[in-house]
């Protein structure tokens, strides 16, 4: 049984939600079906940082909007 978050469709949706460059997105989506579980986990770990950056960006923008004169 595969961990559901490592599933093709779930990871595909996740990759597409990150807002990375289309070239990088295409590469990851193309490679995804060929990745084994360990590789998917490794990719998820790298993309987790991108997820955090997206969250951090939201906070930076919120602060910008609040303090803009």
């Amino acid at each position: 049984m595969v961990n559901p978050i490592l599933d093709n469709d779930n990871l595909k949706t996740f990759i597409m939600s990150l807002g990375i460059s289309s070239e990088q997105e295409k590469f990851l989506l193309d490679e995804l079906p060929r990745m084994d579980e360990a590789e998917r986990l490794e990719m998820l770990n790298a993309l987790k940082d991108v997820y955090i950056l997206n969250e951090e960006k939201k906070q930076a923008v919120a602060k910008l909007q609040a303090d803009w004169k």
């Binding site: 595969v2 961990n3 779930n10 990375i20 930076a60 803009w68």
Partner: protein, 565 residues
Amino acid sequence: MAKRSTAEKVREPEAAAETVEMSPFHGQEIETVGTLTETLVETTKIDKKSMDVIDGLLASDTEKAYQNFALTWFKNNEASMRKEGRVIPAGASDGWKISMVLGSKEKGGMGAMADINKKEYAGIRDGLDKQGVLRTDMHKEQVPPETPFLLLNYLQSSIEDAKRDLTQLRAETRQGDSNAATMADSKEKHIKELYSVAKTMAERAMGEDLTAASKKNLEEQWAREGLASKEEFIGMKLNEEAAKVEKNKNEEIIDKEWKEYMSLSAEKRKNYQRSVGLDLEMTREAFDEAMRGENYTKEGADKAYENGNRSRFRDAIVAKGCREFAIDPPAFYAMLEKGYKPHEKVKYKWFFVDEPKYIIPVKGGGSKEILSKGKAEFVQNILGDRTKKNEAEAKAKLEKFWDSEYSQKINEGVEKRIKELASSPFLAEGGIEKLYQKAKERIVQEYVAGYKAREPKTKEQLDRVEKIFAEKGEKKDVNEFFAATLFRKGRLENMGEDFDEDDRVEMGGFLRAWGIKADRRNTMEITPEEYKKARKTKTGIFGLVMRVIENSLKPKAGKAVRKSK
């Protein structure tokens, strides 16, 4: 919460501890990853010069805000203070009012500082808070990504204020206020300083070279409008400008000649006029008519020269020179410039030659002797030299004009762009987006580089992978999984130092809630020891949570992750 034995404690791989590099972000639930920090520090770090200018600006604005509070408070409370019998001198200065409002009660002041927290002063207080936050953030080792944009926004607002002050000071200067003139110069210097910092800030934050961009825009605009290039402009204007240069020089030469003429004695001036053969000065009647109330002194003659006699003097000596050498006025001016004295007779030498020699005084003393037959060539040469010199001067002037106009337009473009960036939260958001995009792509790039460096899978391996992931699994939102992980980390952090044996965090339930069947042989628990240790590490609690999750998700022993090359 399930209890587990010591033997089942988390087995963390060494490498995993370094996977996530984090530091606290705004003390909130999200932490910054190392790659972002590295990328952003390059762009958001504020240089010392800019920092000094902004520090000075914020300190000055903070002082003004407190003064504003004191004066507003005084205005709001003046009537009640009088009613209470407090003596307020007639025409009390702002300085007196500020000291009185902010001064301690022990020293006879009102000690009203605490009132700044009242709602009627909320605007002033908010301004002070924002200044405080900006100052704190810009001094941080890792400057928050929004700070340069907020500083730019603040600077632009200060520039606009300073420009308004400058307009006012210039108006006062025109009315003869010398103090205002000094203040205006100082204000102008201050505005330039603020612009320079704003430019640095905008360029770093947006990753743009504003000067290069303005130059490109200007050249594109001029190309669209069919405006000439620098070379074409100079080519078009050269003759016109050279004629202007020549005309100005001619006037200077004539004015200089007039000064020399007026420096002569009355007797010598008469001789000069005789040699020219024409009147060089106004007749007394004409002078009296033109210069009513003036005596015909040297000063009076100079005034007459400025008021109509210049043309008489010029025409007379030019006519004489042209006649003497049988040349046109341009050639004659060239000779005048070379040193020819209209009142000095051309000498002739008849010795040993059968034709006269012209002996022409030249600038810097001495004279030039030329044979009659060489006269035309001589004149042609000095005229040619003069024309070349005038053209070179005209070209230099046009180049200077072009460069000055060009750089003015470039500066205007830069200022316009700074204003756009500093006034539009939309553009600032775009700038932040760009910074994060760069950091995000860098993370993916590093990952992809590692991935690509591996050996390709064999067909058997690929078939196996395809088989494993062939069936559709349960639909899960990975974003939500991470959000929940971060939330869990936040809850763990809130436990602070009180985390003890009873607070062991079992992650298995959390993972199972996400449909993740973690390997039972891996522990899914956070112990007090690990928790306390993690709090002291750079990766912090989030790192710990992620490591436990990663560990739990790891394939069973025997299914080793293929190493990169």
